[in-house]
Amino acid sequence: MSLAVIDAREWQNRFDLETGQPRKSDAPVAEMAARVLSRHPYPGDVDEQANQWVTDTALDLISHYDPDLVCLSYVQQFFSDRHFNHSETERERLFAAAMAEADRFVELSGFTPVIVGTGNMIPLAGDMDLSGLDGLAVSSNWSARYCGIHHPSPRDMEFLNSLDTLERIVPRQEWIDLFQAAQPDLEILQDPRLMPDFLAVAREGQAFKTMGTTLRKPVHIPANNFQVPVVSPFGPVTDLREIKPLIRAHLSTHKIALILVEGVGESFFPESRYMVQNGVDWFCYEPGDAFYLTLSTGRHQPFAYPAGFRSFDKDADAIKFPFSGYMDAVPGHTLGLNFPGKSIAVGNRSMFMHMAFGVDISIECFARNLFNQGCMAVVHRDDK
């Protein structure tokens, strides 16, 4: 039973991760994680100190737990660039600072890094208001490229087909078939009724205005990053899914840090970078749950909290894992799962690091829509 330690500054509580019910635990690992939490209050998603928080918290955790595998995510520059209008010079400084923070971690920890960028951000060129459909259009806070269309009328389809800002409209089965061709054992975890009938795909630079999109209009959104940059000392990879087996193959001889830097493209990576495939055909992962899970599990996860998922029709009365965002089950095949060595994760992409990586201990910010609620440690294992 996994333990969640919530730190709301000067106040901590412990809960069962699955049920959310208060739970007592004085296991030494939980005590240690709680002390690390209390030493590192989260500064906030767009605060420049947020990336330093990742490094400092990770180094503190490492000094007390001595892991072999570390998973980190640096996201401050993504949140800041998405919502605020910085000058080009300032934008470049933010992205460079994020990479520098990753370098600082590597230098101070001595871990061998595998650094993954989620790709460039570009200015929002326009958005499509789909609130007038007869059916239902559902996008998500963090998606720009994808929008689910449920029960469209013929009038809706005519309207959608008339939009030159739309790249394509993909029937659900065609979307599934695309990935099943690439990966026959594809997992489709969600209740099919909750999935959209069609996936609307925006042209690059365009976003959707629908139910579920944010009140804060984005300034920059992810580009169509069909390839993303990776730095790996273990040789080349060509596909995002190859990173997990590559890391697992070298963990017996190296202490490895998998580091995600969101919103950062190849120009901020050293020349030794590899550009790796980030999706299939017309589909590329945006920063978010599906990207993290594909990276961590080494399997495509295009249906993990995709845009368009009709989450509000899930049975909210029986929800599990209330601290874990949209996840309602512990994912299989994650990088940290079944790894016999010690593993940790630290990140400021809130509320799903602990699920995405399946490591022994994770510490992550507990922030929603930029509202800073504190931070959380999850202890999946305390017996190593």
Binding site: I6, A8, R9, E10, W11, N13, F15, G20, P22, D129, S131, G132, D134, G135, L136, H150, H151, S153, K209, M211, G212, L215, R216, K217, F312, D313, D315, A316, D317, I319, P322, F323, F366, R368, F371, N372, Q373, G374, M376
Partner: protein, 339 residues
């Protein structure tokens, strides 16, 4: 000509209202941006938070733009404190009948206005209520309560459940942190709402700023009706007070001790995992409603243990508007039926 929606009673003769949402045309006060909404999204009613109205139900959350307050700590300042004209490209144009149809389409049991202040969009909301009433969909709202008597009566017609912010208990606090000279109209309106609507009250607490006024607020609520639920929010200051310290949870909890002797339904939350979100029977102490809090806009019902809105142990009535509603109880109507 003066605007009659809020107690600022702005002179519209040479311009627009303080909130930026009203203007004068041909001797009438008109909305500048009718039927423009900043969001529409299904959410749990506990996340608003209403704790004693339709427990477990699914609300269509809506909001507009602008506000008649300028709270220095506003959490939604990016919508409420900006010029509404600048936000129009973000907004959705959804006529009232269509908004109600959307609520039905998404299986929502009620409609709740909760992003900014409803007084700045009352004609639009009145139109929504017209269609909502036809469909038997009740409406609720969060309001700061700073409305004229006539607008308050209008709101009492539109909304059957109202969550009113009572942000402090001194004119000094309201002057310095909210930007209005006198809180008397708010107290008057709370009394008015309590006559016909289901009322819950929220007080955001900022340590060393308004925490010393908590008991006065409790006393005021008690004098109206002790069974009014009171939500004390641990405020995470935003906007102009972003650098302020977070209120200490244990100290705030202790500060509420004396108030708990006056009011049986005090909730202390707006932070993850609050242990002060359950409802206890005021007679025997039995827990009759269990909730879970994820902080801002993340509360939910865990267990409802008060069948027929009474304590199962001692039979004491628990004041709840409506009855417990299961999230998926009412299936979404078919698309074809409403399009």
């Amino acid at each position: 000509m003066k605007c009659q929606f809020c107690e600022r009673t702005c002179d519209l003769t040479n311009g627009r209202s303080f909130c930026g949402m009203y203007m004068e045309e041909n001797g009438r006060v008109l909305e500048r941006f009718p039927d423009q909404w900043c969001t529409y999204n299904p959410s749990r009613i506990e996340s608003v938070p209403f704790y004693h109205a339709y427990p477990g139900s699914r609300s269509l959350i809506i909001g507009t733009a602008g506000c008649n307050f300028r709270c220095r700590y506003c959490s939604n300042g990016f919508i409420a404190c900006r010029d509404p004209a600048d936000l129009q490209e973000v907004m959705y144009t959804i006529p009232a009948d269509r908004l109600v149809a959307m609520a039905k389409k998404m299986g929502c049991h009620n409609i709740v206005f909760n992003v900014n202040e409803p007084a700045v969009s009352l004609p639009s909301l009145e139109r929504v209520s017209h269609y909502a009433r036809k469909e038997d969909i009740p409406m609720g709202c969060l309001t700061n309560g700073y409305t004229t008597e006539s607008a308050t009566r209008m709101m009492m017609e539109i909304f059957s459940f109202v969550h009113i912010g009572l942000k402090g208990f001194s004119n000094a606090f309201y002057r310095e942190f909210v930007g209005i000279p006198d809180m008397t109209p708010i107290l008057r309106n709370i009394r008015m709402f309590a006559q016909t609507c289901h009322v819950e009250i929220a007080s955001p607490v900022i340590e060393d700023v308004n925490d010393h006024e908590l008991f006065d607020i409790a006393q005021f609520i008690h004098d109206i009706r002790p069974d009014i639920p009171w939500h004390v929010f641990r405020l995470l200051p935003e906007h102009d007070m972003k650098e302020s310290l977070y209120p200490n949870i244990d100290r705030m909890d202790q500060a509420l001790e004396t108030s708990r002797k006056l009011l049986p339904y005090i909730y202390f939350h707006n932070f993850v995992g609050s242990r002060w979100v359950n409802t206890q029977c005021p007679n025997c102490g039995h827990t009759v409603i269990k909730r879970f809090s994820l902080g801002c806009s993340g509360d939910r019902l865990d267990e409802f243990l008060a069948p027929d809105n009474t304590c199962p142990e001692c039979g004491t009535p628990i004041p709840i508007l409506g009855t417990r509603v299961a999230w998926n109880e009412k299936q979404s109507v078919s698309w074809e039926a409403i399009s």
